[in-house]
């Protein structure tokens, strides 16, 4: 992208996307809420929509509805489905914005949130958690998510330290270090999996990702990470527009490139790690959602980042809804759904535009 094009973009959106196209955000936000209620009311067990709505409304402050439903129904709606739907939304939002951030930082359309070792680090941590012959709970934290989170952060920190040259962080070195370390970790994971005996199936399913057991405590742990990370990325993300130039030019335009890289990398990595630790490595969302948003609304990071959050949440909630209802009471791994539904839709968008994106 040349300086000229960048100026064009900025000219096109003089006061920022938010002020000019605020109605897009409002509409999408409403859709998010609708999808949330819809997904909570549908499941393998059929609960009338009115009951779902009453149960949810009853939980709101100042609303008190006399229960006409059983305790088990309330458990299903409020303790199983709602946290699961919220978790899917959080993870979808996190992976989508992390993907958009990585693509912007690396100036590479193929970058995804797992590029620098988050997924492999988390997987290794999780597999070790599975293989340790203890079942352990630390203040609501299972052993597996804890080790997965530690593994993800350890892996990306290692990649970062390996890639650092003096005071700068060359993006190409970072990618290469990330790919190399991922390959190493993934081979260790593979070895542990094949030698894991009968728990192999469970581990493989964990690696493919699932929201099946998401509960309120998990939402409570992941929400702060995702909220803080998303706000930081949206605040600093506008600078990604300038980063699309040469780093040198960006530097000349007054951007502290090195500091920006570290802030954005840290935020994107942290929200990815928090998500992956609880639900496994769900593929595809981090690549496809940012590109879909670019195809429809353009690649200005000021709009791309918040829209990726909303669209990512919608996509993941719907994908999980399909995963748990199509073959009910049997579930389909969520990764299968994100790929099957996401890929054709993405290709459709790509063909419809027929022009270069990114």
């Amino acid at each position: 992208m040349s300086v000229k094009e960048l100026q064009d973009i900025t000219a096109e959106l003089p006061k920022g996307f938010l002020r000019q196209r605020w109605h897009v955000y409002v509409i999408i936000l409403v859709i998010v809420l609708l999808v949330l209620v819809l997904a909570t009311s549908i499941g393998s067990v059929s609960v009338p929509f009115s009951t779902t709505f009453s149960i949810l409304a009853d939980k709101l402050p100042f609303v008190d509805i006399t229960p006409s439903w059983s305790v088990n129904t309330e458990t299903i709606i409020f303790d199983i489905r709602l946290p699961r739907v919220l978790m899917a939304g959080l993870v979808g939002a996190a992976l989508a914005i992390a993907g958009a951030t990585y693509q912007g930082l690396f100036r590479n359309p193929l970058a995804d949130p797992y590029l620098i070792g988050v997924a492999q680090g988390a997987s290794l941590g999780a597999v070790i958690g599975f293989l340790l012959p203890v079942s352990w709970n630390l203040a609501g934290f299972g052993l597996v998510p804890l080790l997965a989170f530690a593994g993800a952060l350890l892996a990306t920190t290692t990649v970062y330290l390996l890639a650092r040259v003096g005071k700068t962080l060359p993006m190409t070195t970072l990618i290469l270090a990330g790919v190399a370390l991922s390959a190493l970790l993934s081979s260790i994971v593979s070895y542990l999996v094949i030698s894991s005996g009968e728990s192999m199936k469970a581990i493989v399913f964990w690696l493919m990702g699932s929201f099946a057991l998401s509960d309120w405590s998990e939402v409570g742990v992941v929400l702060p990470y995702v909220a803080v990370g998303v706000i930081v990325i949206i605040l600093f993300g506008r600078m990604l527009n300038v980063m699309q130039l040469d780093e040198e030019q960006a530097q000349q335009l007054g951007v502290n490139v090195e500091r920006l890289k570290i802030i954005l990398l840290a935020a994107a990595t942290l929200i990815t790690a928090a998500s992956v630790s609880f639900v496994g490595t769900i593929g595809f969302v981090g690549i496809i959602i940012p590109h879909a948003v670019r195809l429809v609304w353009g690649s200005d990071h000021r709009s791309l980042l918040p829209l990726a959050v909303l669209i990512g949440a919608i996509f993941m909630i719907l994908a999980d809804l399909i995963a748990r209802t199509v073959l009910a009471p049997t579930e389909i791994p969520i990764g299968v759904i994100t790929a099957i539904c996401g890929a054709p839709f993405f290709l459709y968008l790509l063909r419809r535009r027929k022009k270069a994106i990114f």
């Binding site: 088990n72 199983i80 081979s187 999996v193 005996g197 690696l207």
Partner: protein, 356 residues
């Protein structure tokens, strides 16, 4: 998805490397040289003790009992409808599945077992045997090389090995008889047939008969009672083998048959195999008894801990009435003599008043 495909590739590559490493530096195998042992069936020894007791079937007699003079060559149709021939009584036997290993040891043939899989955990003596790999649909998991080196007379394979391993064995170990025994079965009859067939092929037919008589009597003692039960008297049962995500035992499985024989209703009988299922369906179907695996993989009881402690299941009947049990998966999942233990245990849990 890409990364999954990639990692599958890595798994395959790695397992090739790892398995080849294992085979090349594996310790001295306990290969017994065949041939120079006695000619088949010289020892005609009647069984010393009748085994009609109600003691668990876990103890095998110390000496193999060979009563009938074995025919020099027998022709047999195995459970995959393959017709194979067997010359004399096999002296070196390799088992390719945990259940086959259990049957062989129950028949008192432990001394003749030359090698087993790494999952053959029972009886304890089986773990001392040479390992020829794991138990999986792909041949890379079974070291053909090591099997060839052991020079077996009889190999007990399963339907899992039909596609790749069995043809390779027929080609590379032509002097060995490969017998396919079904392991993915829900039917007691198929398991009886397997025990009988293995007994017949190994010259331990009488011992097999004793085991079968005992098994059938003990099963009948329970089903005679449970068959009389009305549907409304049968508790609804949930049996999970893993909790994250939840894998339940569905229809068409041995576990399902055991639940039904013990006078219960499997709440996932409408599914096939071991479906990955969700929590809300469990709560909705409200099981009266919940079973969780105590020993998946490395001996983790996470499935049991989950059904015992998860707050969202607190309102389920089984939890309200303290009907949550940990089970030994090997009893419930391996088609071998120990299924009787599973059935007796389960019947006591489901109907304590009928089976004190």
């Amino acid at each position: 998805m890409k990364s999954i495909i990639k990692s599958t590739g890595v798994i395959i590559l790695l397992s090739i490397i790892v398995l080849s490493l294992l085979t090349s530096c594996g310790g001295p195998s306990e290969t017994t040289t065949p041939a120079e042992t006695t000619t088949p069936a010289q020892t005609t020894k009647p069984p010393t003790t009748p085994v009609q007791t109600t003691t668990p079937l876990t103890t095998a007699p110390t000496t193999p009992t060979t009563t009938t003079p074995a025919p020099t060559t027998i022709e047999i149709t195995d459970q995959a409808d393959r017709t194979v021939t067997l010359e004399g009584i096999p002296e070196t036997i390799i088992s390719l599945s945990p259940s086959n290993t259990e049957i062989l040891f129950a028949l008192g043939l432990g001394d003749k077992v030359a090698a087993v899989t790494q999952y053959c955990t029972y009886p304890a003596e089986a773990q001392e045997k040479t390992k020829i790999g794991g138990f999986s649909p792909t041949d890379i998991d079974v070291s053909i090389e090591q099997i060839v080196a052991l020079d077996p007379d009889l190999i007990l394979a399963t339907e899992t090995h039909l596609a790749e391993v069995v043809p390779k064995l027929e080609q590379l170990v032509p002097e060995a008889t490969v017998l396919v025994i079904l392991t993915q079965t829900e039917s007691f009859e198929v398991i009886f047939e397997a025990i009988e067939m293995i007994g017949k092929c190994t010259g331990a037919g009488d011992r097999a008969d004793q085991i079968l008589t005992d098994m059938k009597a003990r099963i009948k003692a329970i089903t005679d009672v449970t068959d009389q039960l009305q549907e409304s008297e049968k508790p609804k049962v949930l049996y999970i083998v893993w909790n994250d995500p939840i894998f339940a035992i569905g229809g068409g499985t041995l576990g399902n048959t055991l639940i039904e024989a013990a006078g219960g209703i499997n709440i996932f009988a409408d599914t096939e195999g071991a479906p990955m299922t969700d929590l809300e369906t469990i709560i909705y179907r409200n099981p009266d008894v919940m079973l969780g695996s105590l020993n998946v993989g490395t001996g983790m009881d996470m499935a049991y801990q989950f059904i015992l402690n998860d707050e969202r299941l607190a309102g389920v009947n089984a939890r309200l009435n303290n009907q949550v049990y940990g089970v030994n998966d090997d009893w419930y999942g391996r088609p071998g003599p120990r299924l009787v233990l599973a059935l007796e245990e389960l019947a006591k849990w489901l109907h304590p008043e009928l089976f004190p």
